[in-house]
Subunit: 243 residues, 2 copies
């Protein structure tokens, strides 16, 4: 069965063993393939009954805006990720999601997802279990913002992004292709764009990592990990816990 090979079902089966019957409602979902330009806002904060999307190509980011216009990027999404789950779980969305690059995604309507969840509770359990893993990443990000210096934050952030991309086969310990601007980094790391630039320069001069022309190159992976205090344990996994 083809479905079993998709990145999404592989992700879902990581923690919860899913039978064909559990996956069947997923296959029957009304889906609509769509593509969006960079900067397009797929979901905005406060929106009611927003659709969700399964990202098949390109990068997106979820963020929140503050009254004064500043924004905090909470997370980036890469191919295989599920966008906007929380906006389905809670009638209105507590965050916005926008396309970073041009993206290809499959739109799934909120009522359809809820119906599938009602029909196959094990599927719902699997989706939410996977969401908990994303929460672990958000928690890491929070620690990053609360307790690390600008340089440690940057190092940690780039390593984590690299580790996530390595899981889906687009990155290794030499580096990865990265479409983000320095403004994206600033909004994610709670820094000014100016300071992001200086930090990147310093990391480059130290021979740790080079961010240039859409590519992050780990010049000294091990020393970078030491600077960042990086430990990727929570990205490990080894077979479903719920059978």
């Amino acid at each position: 069965m083809l479905m079993l090979q998709s990145p999404l079902t592989r992700k879902l089966s990581a923690y919860v063993a899913l039978s064909a019957a559990d996956l069947e409602p997923l296959a029957r979902l009304h889906r609509r393939r769509r593509s969006f330009q960079p900067g397009h806002e797929l979901i905005h904060e406060g929106q009611a009954n927003a659709s969700a999307f399964i990202l098949s190509d390109g990068w997106a980011c979820s963020y929140k805006l503050l009254p004064d216009g500043e924004r905090q990027i909470v997370d980036f999404q890469i191919p295989g990720d599920f966008l906007g789950l929380r906006s389905i779980l809670f009638r209105t969305s507590d965050h916005s999601i926008e396309a970073v690059t041009r993206i290809e995604a499959t739109e799934v309507l909120a009522p359809d997802i809820l119906e599938a969840f009602a029909e196959a509770p094990r599927l719902a359990t699997a989706v939410l279990w996977a969401a908990s893993r994303d929460e672990a990443m958000v928690v890491e990000h929070l620690v990053n913002l609360g307790r690390r210096s600008a340089e440690e934050r940057m190092a940690h952030f780039l390593l984590e992004l690299g580790a996530r991309l390595a899981l889906v086969g687009s990155g290794d310990r030499t580096g990865f292709d990265c479409p983000l601007t320095q403004y994206h980094l600033a909004d994610a790391l709670g820094l000014s764009a100016v300071h992001v630039n200086r930090v990147l320069r310093h990391l480059r001069e130290e021979g740790l990592v080079t961010f240039r022309n859409g590519r992050v190159a780990f010049d000294d992976f091990d020393r970078l990990k030491a600077v960042a205090g990086f430990d990727s344990g929570y990205l490990d996994q080894d077979g479903p816990l719920l059978r």
Copy 2:
């Protein structure tokens, strides 16, 4: 049925309609009532197969430690909260949890929970759905750390805590009882204890909020909300989405 009235089942039924059959495995869980002294570490980062706890009285906090010994508190737990879910979902815990006050909690063993989840997938769905709401709080906290000044952070944090406590009936717009030390606030807000003290003094002098003798008093609730840019929308709820 008594179970239906407990804070936990009320929380679980907020988003997913649960039948007696869904709740039955919960009732059959092997439980053990325990109490712990302030400062006791219930779960530590990296621990494998940790138990979970349902907090019935007192406050706890979840946190992560950095190599240099600093810590970042991710979240506080109040009566009715579930402790250590992520340590059950992923064999090993990515965070520590310790008692802030003396606490009363019911211990639930990991295999028992997984068994209950396997028997009643709708129960699992409900638990994880509730966990997603906690994630929304973590995201708010992240925005707090990334983009707000020390004063805004403090104001926002105290208001949010107040709103959560008001939901369980122990707090209103005049304030709430709060067993935290200024060190707890510092570790939660990514500030030094020294600066927490100054910020609290300033907020008091401005007539906004007074933190003293285990009590947070909102002296000017509306102005405080304005300072904090506070909006508690994501704490709202109105009937299960999954029936």
